[in-house]
């Protein structure tokens, strides 16, 4: 039998309602023997007492219930967002508050590059915060006229390119394709909005962004980004899981030094359902304790701020036309049932209320035909769900993973443009979910917003927007509930709550190690609680050990 380690901490928040606070936790073989006072634990046998966390606060390892492994691949490029953002090396990238600042930043990056052929790719650009003219190819030609320059917007749906990229992609005044924005002179101005133009421009400079996501370096960056935020388990929602990606996932998670459990969801629309079910059977047999395979994700509609979410009446506040289905509403039940009947859990992306309702109809149909009280269908984002939807979700045993970070980053736009005041104030209605007993989590959708559950919890607790408006005070939740949502709440949506999400006997020894007590930090201070690092399966991963890039 291998040794027992007892960690002493200043305080341990267990999320175990029978004993919410402890001073010690005993760990053997990566499993928690128990949490409590030292004398409660000594009966397990001889132990080493680890005093390293004597001035730290432990809580269950936080779980990001909706992120993407793209969080790892984006950081190989230059971040040019409006807000400062910490990279996976722990170094904060500066906030760039104008097009001129973005150009100047990229000029400096260009000056440091020797090879004159390589492309400069940047991401996170968000013109929603700028007034004045939009970025053009002329701006990016100031960065370079010899190498390709690409600036990907925060939405990942629009890019700006310089003239080098336009000419390599053969895009000119005659190119008659949707989404190629043209200037007053009729020539393309470098902004590419449509999927075809965007992909072919990136293809023309040799960038395959899906291949990048599955690379080992990207998966390492993903884990470090998580570690810096105190996250021990993160989802990759979703991934078609091609051979090569799967092999890389297995290899990195098999490394004892890899600080993250990954829960990839299989992209259920990437092949016909029968093929998908066969693939899932094959995949789920390959699960390990750090690579959890068995989850399927479907996408029903688009995004609210992109006006592609499917809304019911009265539609978008600013009169924009209704959004897009990403799956034929008539095919949702059939696809769900194929995976459900084979025993696989399905998460479904729904943003608009019409999408949420349509998917609930489909779930009800599937569960009526093939009842399973523990199916735990989970609606991802579920931003516009209201009272009646949550009541129905409770009856159907459906979970919600709410996009709390949206409240801060786009809450003002929702209030003014997309939803209007009343619907904006009930977006991501965590309190309504709680009142109806709907199991819920809250998420970042990283890299769409930063991977940082304490910040996400802060958003759900305060519901403050960028401008400082409190968006729907009645939907705020307590600090305790928010911390539960980013631990046990997320674990429940992933059917991992019997092994993760709380510090109690029999669970995996995954901890978030904090410099301060988040309960003492309170609603205001929650997002600023320092993260020392994590413990994964009993092994400590201090943030200070992360190499700088």
């Amino acid at each position: 039998m291998s040794g027992i380690t007892v960690f002493r901490a200043k305080k341990i928040l267990t999320m175990n309602p029978r004993a919410p606070v402890a001073s010690h936790v005993a760990v053997r073989d990566g499993i928690i023997l128990g949490a409590g006072a030292l004398e409660d634990l000594s009966g397990w046998g001889a132990y080493d007492l680890d005093e390293g966390f004597a001035d730290k606060v432990l809580m269950p390892g936080m779980i990001e219930g909706h992120s993407h492994s793209m969080e790892g691949s984006v950081w190989q490029d230059h971040y040019v967002g409006y807000y400062a953002r910490r990279g996976p090396d722990g170094v904060e990238r500066p906030a760039l508050r104008s097009i001129e600042e973005v150009v100047a930043y990229l000029q400096r990056a260009e000056a440091e590059m020797g090879d004159s052929e390589a492309a400069i790719i940047a991401w996170g650009f968000d013109p929603i915060y700028f007034t004045g003219p939009r970025m053009t190819a002329a701006d990016l030609d100031k960065v370079s006229t010899s190498r390709p320059v690409v600036v990907v917007h925060a939405s990942f749906h629009i890019i700006n390119v310089n003239s080098v990229v336009l000419s390599r992609a053969n895009i000119d005044a005659d190119t008659d394709v949707m989404g190629i924005m043209k200037g007053g002179d009729g020539a393309p101005n470098g902004e590419l909005q449509g999927m075809p133009a965007r992909f072919l421009a990136l293809g023309a400079i040799g960038r395959d962004h899906f291949e990048e996501m599955g690379k080992k370096e990207s998966l390492w960056r993903f884990a470090r980004s998580a570690q810096l935020a105190g996250v021990t388990t993160a989802t990759d929602l979703a991934n078609a899981l091609p051979e090569k990606t799967l092999a890389n996932l297995k290899e990195v998670t098999g490394d004892p030094g890899y600080p993250l459990r990954i829960v990839p969801a299989f992209l259920g629309l990437s092949c016909p359902a029968a093929e998908g079910v066969a693939k899932m059977r094959d995949l789920s047999a390959q699960s390990t304790d750090k690579l959890r395979l068995g989850l399927v994700k479907l996408v029903a509609d688009g995004s609210i701020q992109g006006f592609t979410a499917r809304l019911k009446e009265p539609g978008y506040f600013n009169g924009s036309p209704n959004g897009l289905w990403y799956i034929d509403p008539g095919q949702i039940a059939g696809t769900l049932s194929a995976y459900h009947e084979a025993g696989f859990q399905v998460h479904i992306h729904t943003n608009g209320d019409q999408a949420t309702e349509t998917v609930l109809d489909a779930i009800e149909e599937v569960l009526t035909r093939t009842p399973n009280p523990d199916a735990r269908f989970t609606l991802q984002h579920c931003q516009m769900a209201h009272e009646a939807h949550f009541a129905r979700m409770a009856r159907l045993g459906v979970c919600a993973n709410l996009f709390a970070n949206h409240l801060y980053y786009w809450g003002d736009q929702h209030y003014e443009q997309t939803m209007g005041p009343e619907r904006a104030e009930r977006m991501n209605a965590a309190n309504t979910a709680a009142r109806h007993g709907v199991p819920y989590a809250i998420h970042s959708d990283a890299p769409i917003t930063p991977l940082a559950p304490l910040f996400t919890a802060w958003c759900a607790v305060n519901r403050k927007t960028v401008s400082g408006r409190v968006l729907g005070a009645a939907e705020r939740i307590s600090v305790e509930d928010a911390l539960r949502a980013v631990t046990l709440g997320a674990a429940y949506t992933l059917k991992l709550d019997s092994e993760l999400g709380s510090i109690e006997t029999g669970k995996r020894a995954d901890f978030t190690v904090l410099g301060e007590d988040p309960l003492a930090a309170g609603a205001e201070g929650l997002k600023d609680v320092p993260v020392w690092g994590t413990v994964l399966g009993g092994r400590a991963f201090p943030c200070a050990d992360i190499p700088k890039e």
Binding site: V177, M195, P196, C271, P272, V299, P321, W325, P329, Q331
Partner: protein, 321 residues
Amino acid sequence: MSQEPIPLSVIGGFLGAGKTTLLNRLLQGTSGVRYAVIVNDFGDLAIDGDLAAEHGGDTLTFANGCLCCTLGDSLLTTLNDLTRRDAPPDHIVVEASGVADPRQIADMAVLHPGLRRDLSIVLVDAETILEQARDERLKETVERQAAAADLLVLNKCDLVARDRRAKVRDWAARQAPEAPLIETEHARLPLELLFARDEVKPAGPGRDTAKGHDHGALFRSRSVPMVRPLDLAALRAGLTGLPPSVLRAKGFVSLAGKPENLHLVQLVGRRLRIHAWDAGGRAPPRRELVFVGTPDMPSGEWLERALYPPVVGTGLDNSGE
């Protein structure tokens, strides 16, 4: 480009509109052309993959649903693989899912260096479309699809009474005022006109040909001689301004200024490509354009006049030689 771009056609339309029937017909009814069929709709009916293989082509699938980032990448990867093959297909047909916008797929063919955009054909289920167009969940989706059509096919017309058919026609014309409209049943369409490699076939000057008795009711083909050099701007304006009943045109012309150089003209829907053509030692082809369209397509003489506008002071009249 070392090789000619591969034509890519899109078949769009909501679930049940007859896309799969049309594709199976295509695979069954043509020979000598290697089709690659890419399926983006995993509905109840399946494409007969064996059928495709028998005819020297293949069927591939890419992710179902709308072309958001992930799914678009899946299509692009498939297209890259196909165009980079040692023996690439002669023609690619993409069956768009019921919620995909056919325009996005066609746009990929416009931009992809190995592809040429061919017709986007959108099928409409004449029996159910009016209900779909009223359904709060489906309304915009079926409208967007119809608006993306180069050719709108009202299918299952045998199941629909005459007055209702008129209502369907009205709806379709509102969505796609530019696109020709044809009515059929069981997705019966003259496939070689829609998908086959539209080689210019020898035909007498100005002769109207109805392609077989079965197809003659739906389509017309006209060969128009283009003996005199044309003015490029006038040719462009003339071709892009043709009435919607003209579906496509292809052929060789010579342009004013350099009459010895032949140019290949390809008009698909309202999209035009004109580029210099190198005979590469082959016998020079006949200078003529072959037009394919619906029965109300104008006559050969009319088409000729549209492309040779009157030129003041040359003494030539505008009706040809």
